[in-house]
């Protein structure tokens, strides 16, 4: 599939990625999490802001600079959990008040499509509005959706985004499921960790994309996704992906989604052997682990292509050893 060009992007993360970008000044974990630094919300009307859950706030903060300056034919978001904090508050209300009178705010904010619809309200956008919720492949599926829409309507422009929040409830539940590090591991030491678990994070990355090369900063050349827990399936897929999409082009950087969890490291090590001579960097020490962290990786790839004059960046991410994705990002 011919993919699309990325013209502008905004990233709200635990690092200095929004406004003045400084990735050398690595922000440390707080309470064992890498929570996104919330942007300035002055542009959001107070009546709207007071009802917003964290996911909607992060997405609004990231999207407004793009919505205020560009026109989009549609808004396509990827989020595994949407406003999970509000979802749990709403479910707790059902129990606490014995299925009695429930209030609408938590429910409205908890639906996964609240994010894309809120952005449509801000910009009075009545075009295509879709939200993909395929856990660790939510963002990739949103990007594939945009790719297909642009194949059908090549003159259109879309706002593409990936968002997830880490809430207190979610942190506790996922901790019980042994998803997070039990010991304190600094994010700067993440890749030296030999134990199970990762550092949780959250954030949002938004991209203004279309089929027009002029003025673009990068091109998303290809996406591949697969569900498997077999290492050999992943490596076979990667070999085929490289043969089909990279061909003779130089591959300058392999962005590895390893998250310090020893259980999933074999997948990354196996893939690194295939791109043995390519420089490898991680990104989860910057953004933490969340289901749509690949959107952060795409933003990072665009940033590095532009600032380091790279030709091609290959991103590999897997979510809990079952959902795998490859994204090839190139210069323009």
């Amino acid at each position: 599939m011919s993919m699309f060009y990325i013209h502008q992007s905004v990233c709200v993360s635990a690092q200095k990625t929004n406004g003045v970008i400084d990735l050398d000044d690595i922000q440390p974990i707080k309470d064992n999490k890498l929570q996104a630094i919330e942007p300035n919300y002055d542009a959001i009307p107070p009546a709207m802001y007071r009802r917003m859950g964290r996911a909607v706030r992060l997405a609004s903060g990231a999207a407004l600079p793009l919505l205020n300056t560009l026109t989009f034919n549609g808004i396509v978001m990827g989020t595994a959990n949407g406003g999970l904090e509000d979802c749990i508050k709403f479910l707790n209300q059902i129990v606490d008040y014995n299925e009695g009178k429930l209030t609408p705010t938590n429910f409205v904010q908890s639906t996964t499509n609240a994010i894309a619809s809120q952005l449509a309200f801000f910009s009075a956008n009545k075009g295509y509005n879709n939200t993909h919720v395929h856990r660790g492949l939510a963002f990739e599926n949103a990007a594939l959706d945009v790719g297909m829409m642009l194949n059908e309507f090549p003159d259109n422009s879309y706002l593409l985004g990936g968002i997830d929040e880490i809430s207190a409830y979610q942190y506790n539940i996922e901790s019980l499921a042994n998803m997070y590090k039990k010991e304190v591991v600094l994010n700067t030491e993440l890749y030296n960790s030999k134990t199970a678990g990762c550092i949780p994070g959250d954030g949002c990355a938004m991209f203004a994309v279309n089929k027009q090369k002029t003025g673009a900063t990068a091109k998303l050349k290809a996406i591949g996704t697969l569900h498997t827990d077999k290492e050999e399936d992943v490596t076979q897929y990667l070999k085929h992906f490289i043969e089909k999409n990279v061909k003779d082009d130089a591959l300058n950087l392999f962005l590895s989604g390893e998250n310090g969890d020893s259980r999933y490291l074999p997948y990354y090590n196996a893939c690194k052997k295939i791109v043995l001579n390519v420089k490898t960097e991680g990104f989860k020490h910057l953004c933490g682990e969340y289901a749509t962290a690949s959107s952060f990786a795409l933003w990072l790839a665009c940033y590095k292509i532009k600032s380091n004059n790279l030709k091609n960046v290959l991103i590999y991410n897997n979510f809990r050893g079952k959902q795998h994705s490859f994204m090839l990002v190139g210069d323009v």
Binding site: R50, K101, T103
Partner: protein, 87 residues
Amino acid sequence: METAALKHQLKEQIIQFLNLTTVKPEDIKDDQPLFGEGLGLDSIDSLELIALLERIYGIKINDPKEGRKILVDVNTMIAYIQQHRTK
């Protein structure tokens, strides 16, 4: 509870339920309209206030016309609470 103390408590509860983070109890006047030009609340807020009355004061409002008369300002809410509270 004295009416003045009950009013202050109700204002705190309105701020908490509606997440009016920039408003303090003393900012809400007793006769200030809750909706429209006053405190600027809207229809979703009215549902939140009805839930507030039920959960904290045990008052069930099932008739929307009745709700319109009660949710005018803090004075009307307090008068109704004092007459009908079950908690």
